[in-house]
């Protein structure tokens, strides 16, 4: 099967804008809210959402942090290769905050499970919401759902969802490739 494009760059921008407005509806001025991107791929989306929100709201003080979940994974030492750690950078207390957790693709739910654990080491948030660009809803291993979703995709396990970013890959794009094609 040929690679299929799910979101091209113009739809991509629309989706980001829609997610931002959904967030504003819920969080108003973000004085009690913060955005946490999950390393490594979630931070691209989190940064985009964060800068777009600041532009729309004309604010410069929306809290934003990066969270690395490597040390909290449930498959440590099962992959046969070491897992590199990434930077965690959360400069504000999460105690009593409304946290918006951001990742690019929600798949099995295991990453988010680890992220919830990791986050608790920084305090006890008031509530936690999940925002993802792509929700592969048929492959969940854990009872985890996103509140804000860019696009829902029904795909099979042999297919891979690739999210590309202007910053690292040249353009914003989401596409599906089946593994036997690569």
């Amino acid at each position: 099967m040929k690679p299929r494009i799910i979101l091209d760059s113009s739809k991509f921008a629309l989706t980001i804008d829609r997610l931002c407005h959904q967030l504003i509806e819920q969080h108003q001025d973000f004085s009690q809210s913060c955005i946490i991107g999950v390393q490594p791929r979630g931070i691209f989306l989190a940064e985009r959402i964060h800068s777009r929100l600041q532009a729309i709201l004309r604010k410069k003080d929306i809290n934003y942090g990066k969270l690395d979940i490597t040390l909290y994974r449930d498959d440590f030492r099962q992959k046969g290769k070491p897992m590199t750690t990434n930077e965690t950078d959360i400069k504000f207390p999460l105690e009593d905050k409304n946290v918006i957790l951001v990742d690019d693709v929600l798949y099995t739910g295991r990453t988010i499970r680890a992220a919830l654990d990791a986050m608790l080491d920084f305090g006890r948030p008031k509530d936690v919401e999940l925002l993802v660009l792509i929700d592969r809803r048929l492959q969940r291993h854990l009872p985890i759902q996103a509140k804000y979703v860019g696009k829902v995709i029904d795909s099979i396990t042999t297919e891979k969802v690739k999210v590309e970013w202007k910053e690292t890959d040249g353009q914003d794009k989401v596409w599906i490739v089946s593994e036997n094609n690569e």
Binding site: T84, T85, T88
Partner: protein, 307 residues
């Protein structure tokens, strides 16, 4: 991203430059973990580690124990005094009995150089050397390098001076290969009786005059005079040593540049290092201790991953 090239951490000279860089990078992550409100991660919760100290230790032992606890590992502690070692049990028997209780990793200090290397040929568990005789103390070398890197950004091109008893020092044994592998230049300074004959083969040069050596260096690591390892007299007296090789404020003030001062501890205040230097802004002695936990967490984490 690569794994460590070694299954054990026994000597810096076995490591490649990329191994050292990987340990430094991983330590950056753990240093951040140690600043959090909850300073603990669950990554080694399925690992049991035995700390075998056949020789006394305060800093290293506490540092390893904290590192293990911060990684959620289970730990057991063993010291030679009050154990069956006194009844004549051999090292290999002692360790095999501990391993029979399903222990995954061993952290060991021993007064015989090469004890850990011997063990690594006979057992499956990962071994971390916490100091073997007068040979190496790799986690100390790593934390020294890490502390200097933190202060200067990189080790490349730095002039690194080690002062004191080089011959009996496992800190020098690890610092010299680490610094040279990372591109720093190393000089040693001390009484000729305490300088090993093979110093140039280790990659360092010798300067007998302390003032000249200090003028050359960016960082000076002042070693402890280890009277317990000297079975014959290598120096006439501590007082004479202190006059010729003791580092004090007057001496440092007579040199134009600001030198960073390190010490692996415990300090003999007034012998190799005066309090006016040890407690000054130039000293990064307490940062070394702080970084020790992060470095040991990184070593444990990466070795556990090697299985």
């Amino acid at each position: 991203m690569s794994a460590l090239s070694q299954k054990h951490l026994i000597a810096i000279k076995d490591l490649q430059k990329s191994d050292i860089e990987l340990i430094f990078q991983t330590a950056d992550t753990f240093k951040e973990v140690l600043q959090r409100p909850i300073k603990k991660v669950p990554s080694l919760r399925d690992i049991t580690i035995a700390n075998l100290f056949f020789e006394d230790s305060t800093r290293t032992r506490i540092s390893f124990e904290l590192a293990e606890k911060r990684l959620s590992a289970d730990t057991i502690n063993f010291s030679a005094s009050g154990s069956s070692v006194k009844k004549g049990e051999t090292l290999l028997d002692t360790v095999n009995n501990i391993l029979a209780m399903k222990v995954d990793m061993i952290v060991m200090r021993h007064s015989s150089s090469g004890a850990q290397s011997f063990l690594s040929n006979h057992i499956k568990a990962n071994i971390i050397n916490a100091g073997d005789g007068t040979h190496e103390h790799p986690t100390q070398g790593l934390l020294d390098g890490y502390s200097v890197r933190e202060k200067f950004g990189s080790l490349k091109g730095l002039n690194y001076l080690i002062i004191g008893d080089i011959k009996h020092s496992r800190v020098a044994g690890s610092d010299i290969p680490l610094m040279t592998k990372m591109g720093a230049k190393v000089k040693v300074c001390g009484p000729p009786t305490l300088i090993p004959k093979y110093i140039e083969e280790m990659g360092a040069t010798y300067e007998p005059n302390l003032k000249k050596a200090l003028e050359w260096c960016d960082v000076a690591n002042v070693l402890r005079i280890q009277l317990e390892r000297m079975d014959i007299k290598f120096i006439p007296s501590l007082r004479e040593y202190s006059i010729f090789y003791g580092v004090n404020k007057d001496l440092l003030d007579s040199i134009k540049k600001d030198i960073t001062i390190m010490h692996p501890g415990p300090i003999n205040r007034g012998v190799e290092l005066n309090s006016d230097v040890a407690d000054s802004k130039q000293s990064i002695i307490l940062q070394q201790v702080e970084n020790g936990v992060a470095i040991r967490m990184a070593a444990l984490y990466l070795l556990a991953d090697r299985g």
